[in-house]
């Protein structure tokens, strides 16, 4: 069963390849400002998340996600109530 607690570590793992060496991730890490993801990397990240959690990320939640925590929130909602 997936919850916020065990979701974050998995998310950190997924974000690993998108993260600079030496940078540690926390829930408040900003995806664009801190990790410097460009628009194509964002798309790559979303496809990895979709595959990993077996969910479909709707278009309209993307503009609402700024931090790792936002991402985790949205994923946990999607996993509980698959669209």
């Amino acid at each position: 069963m997936l919850n916020q607690e065990n979701l974050l570590p998995r998310l950190y793992e997924i974000l690993g390849p998108f993260t600079k060496e030496g940078r540690t991730l926390n829930p408040e890490t900003q995806l664009v400002a801190d990790l410097g993801l460009d628009s194509m990397q964002v798309m790559e990240l979303l496809s990895t998340i979709e595959d990993d959690f077996d969910i479909s990320v709707p278009l309209n939640i993307v503009p609402e996600m700024k931090t790792v925590n936002d991402l985790a929130d949205q994923i946990s909602k999607l996993v509980v109530s698959p669209s």
């Binding site: 600079k20 995806l31 664009v32 400002a33 410097g36 993801l37 460009d38 628009s39 194509m40 964002v42 798309m43 790559e44 979303l46 496809s47 979709e50 479909s56 709707p58 278009l59 309209n60 993307v62 503009p63 609402e64 996600m65 700024k66």
Partner: protein
């Protein structure tokens, strides 16, 4: 092909765009079996609509729209998701006598406010009376339109509950508008290009008969956005006007899983698909070595490339990598066009692949003349700097092209100047903007494309955008060249750079290269700058100022193209150049000249 997709054969004689209006084109296509198919990001068919169904459903929707009592020619904004609803609403407008205006979906991380602001500006610019959005975008639309005078707005369900009127439909006629298309070229306010039925159909018949030479058995695949001229005119209206079936992947799904484009090509045995250069690059970048022979691209007879300057190297890499899957590099078809001309101006000849013109780069900069080089010349002579550009072929029949210098004189073959175009596909103007219209469109119908190029015989070679040219000590420097040099550095990718010029108070120009840089180590950042400067000096003979900025900060237009003039404005606002003694500038005059 999985069950349910519309067949490739229409079962009716092929008519190549010879229709008076889009409604006539749809009515004819509706007599056959072909239509549009939509696929999920995992390659499953999610919806399919034949042209016959599309015609019936659009007619019913048109009767509902008429119950709103809008003026004939009223604008209906349609947030252009890749979906059957977009098609229904677009053609319902045609049938009811309203002008459809496709609006972009630009969704970025944390980009809520920016998107709402953009939508609002577009709704205001086209003076929309009605607006429709896919369900998940409705909240954005509602926020964007608050306080605006819209008769109706919402998702498809809101319109489905309108009553149908009983009287007959009176579709948009030949001389009425077909649609308003927002350009991506805008660096200021958005410009809505007005295209008449006559214009778009003359362009479509040129594309279908001459550019693509469509034949029975052709089938299209597209992931291009429906709010983009190539996506809308090329791959929504084009297939209707030539009765072809088309398989759609949404732009977002392509960006997430570019291989799906190739999977869909394989699965549907499609023969025609277009992309800007970057689409081919992205696809190749996300393709594992072991997957390169996993597709069947042998049916792909036209791999069109356009919408941004065509660069040959990445395309040839794509072709080479996918040769084991049957991709034929002769399928590449370079073309040139813009929303102001409906879509297309010129096409290279079919089945030739890319025609690359190698020229003396220094001579071109200094004398604006493209002297052709033999391969031997530039391979053996270290004194010649070779530049190469892709030939975009002959203008469509009925379309005249002139290359002019600054004084308006018509230039001979191989002399570079501004490209002017005249022909039946050209817009009537920018909606509600006579001043800007006058700037680019002369009373006798010549359109200033703003692009720089030269002719070889009748064929057209595009060098770049006029306003982007950097002139240093009387030499023309193409920003693409500077950007290319920067992109050759380790860690810098295509699209990470923008080059432009800034001038001091006495009008002297300096070249600037801005690079999106992921590197955080200060020493390595400095190294990057120190590495680039001598390369630029060596290659182009100019000094340049290099600035590193965070990833994802270079401004882009709605279709994802980098905007050099906005990059320049941002650069001046940041003011980092002040620290450089090489550049002493009057910021206010520079900003105003940038927004000219």
């Amino acid at each position: 092909m999985s069950g349910g997709a519309t067949p490739t054969q229409s079962g009716i004689p092929l008519r190549s765009g010879d229709f008076l209006t889009l409604t006539h084109a749809l009515e004819y296509a509706a007599q056959g079996n072909t239509g549009c198919n939509f696929y999920t990001s995992r390659g499953k068919l999610s919806a399919s609509i034949s042209y016959s169904d599309l015609h019936r459903q659009s007619s019913a929707l048109a009767k509902r729209l008429l119950s709103l009592d809008l003026q004939r020619g009223a604008r209906m904004a349609i947030v252009a998701d890749t979906s059957p609803d977009f098609l229904r609403f677009f053609f319902a407008c045609q049938l009811a006598g309203f002008v459809p205006v496709p609006l972009p979906i630009s969704i970025h991380l944390g980009g809520h406010d920016a998107y709402v602001k953009q939508l609002r500006r577009l709704l205001q610019t086209c003076g929309a009376s009605a607006a429709m959005a896919p369900e998940e975008i409705v909240p954005f639309l509602e926020e964007a339109s608050s306080g605006l005078d819209l008769t109706i707005q919402g998702g498809a369900d809101v319109f489905a509950s309108l009553p149908e009127v009983s009287h007959d439909l009176c579709p948009l006629g030949q001389s009425e508008l077909a649609y308003i298309q927002f350009t991506s070229g805008s660096t200021r306010w958005p410009r809505g290009v007005e295209i008449t039925q006559e214009a778009v159909l003359s362009n479509l018949s040129g594309i279908i008969q001459h550019g693509l030479q469509v034949q029975a058995g052709d089938r299209c695949v597209s992931w291009l956005p429906f709010y983009h001229d190539m996506g809308l005119v090329g791959f929504v209206l084009g297939p209707v006007a030539s009765q072809l079936s088309v398989d759609y992947l949404s732009t977002r799904d392509f960006a997430m899983r570019p291989r799906q484009w190739l999977n869909l090509m394989t699965q549907s045995k499609a023969t025609i698909s277009f992309s800007p250069s970057f689409g081919f690059e992205l696809c190749l970048r996300r393709l594992a070595e072991r997957d390169r022979d996993q597709f069947d691209l042998s049916h792909w007879r036209i791999a069109g490339v356009g919408a941004e300057t065509v660069r040959s190297e990445p395309l040839l890499q794509f072709a080479k990598a996918l040769e084991p899957s049957g991709f034929n590099e002769k399928a590449f078809l370079a073309c040139y066009g813009m929303a102001e001309c409906s879509l297309a101006i010129s096409f290279a000849p079919l089945n030739q692949g890319l025609m690359v013109d190698h020229v003396d780069g220094d001579y071109l900069s200094e004398h604006q003349e493209a002297i052709s080089l033999d391969a031997e010349d530039w391979n053996v002579s270290p004194n010649i700097r070779e530049s190469h550009y892709v030939n975009c072929g002959d203008p469509l029949p009925g379309c005249d092209v002139e290359i002019r210098n600054e004084s308006g004189d018509i230039l001979p073959e191989r002399h570079a100047g501004v490209i002017f175009v005249k022909g039946p596909g050209i817009m009537t103007g920018y909606f509600g903007d006579p001043v800007t219209t006058q700037e680019v469109l002369s009373p006798d119908g010549w359109l200033n494309t703003g692009d720089i190029g030269y002719c070889i015989g009748r064929s057209l070679v595009i060098i770049g955008r006029e306003k982007d040219i950097i002139i240093i000590n009387g030499r023309n420097i193409w920003p693409q060249d500077l950007e290319y040099l920067a992109e050759c550095l380790p860690g810098v990718r295509p699209g990470d750079t923008s080059a432009f010029s800034v001038s001091n108070s006495s009008g002297e120009e300096s070249a600037v290269v801005v690079i999106q840089c992921r590197e955080t180590d200060q020493r390595k950042r400095e190294q990057l700058i120190e590495e680039l400067k001598p390369i630029v000096y060596k290659e182009l003979g100019i000094e340049c100022f290099v600035e590193l900025i965070p990833p994802r900060t270079l401004p882009r237009t709605s279709s994802g193209k980098l905007s050099r003039s906005r990059a320049r404005e941002d650069f001046l606002k940041r003011g980092n150049w002040k620290e450089s003694s090489e550049l002493v500038m009057d910021a206010s005059s520079s900003v105003s000249s940038a927004s000219l």
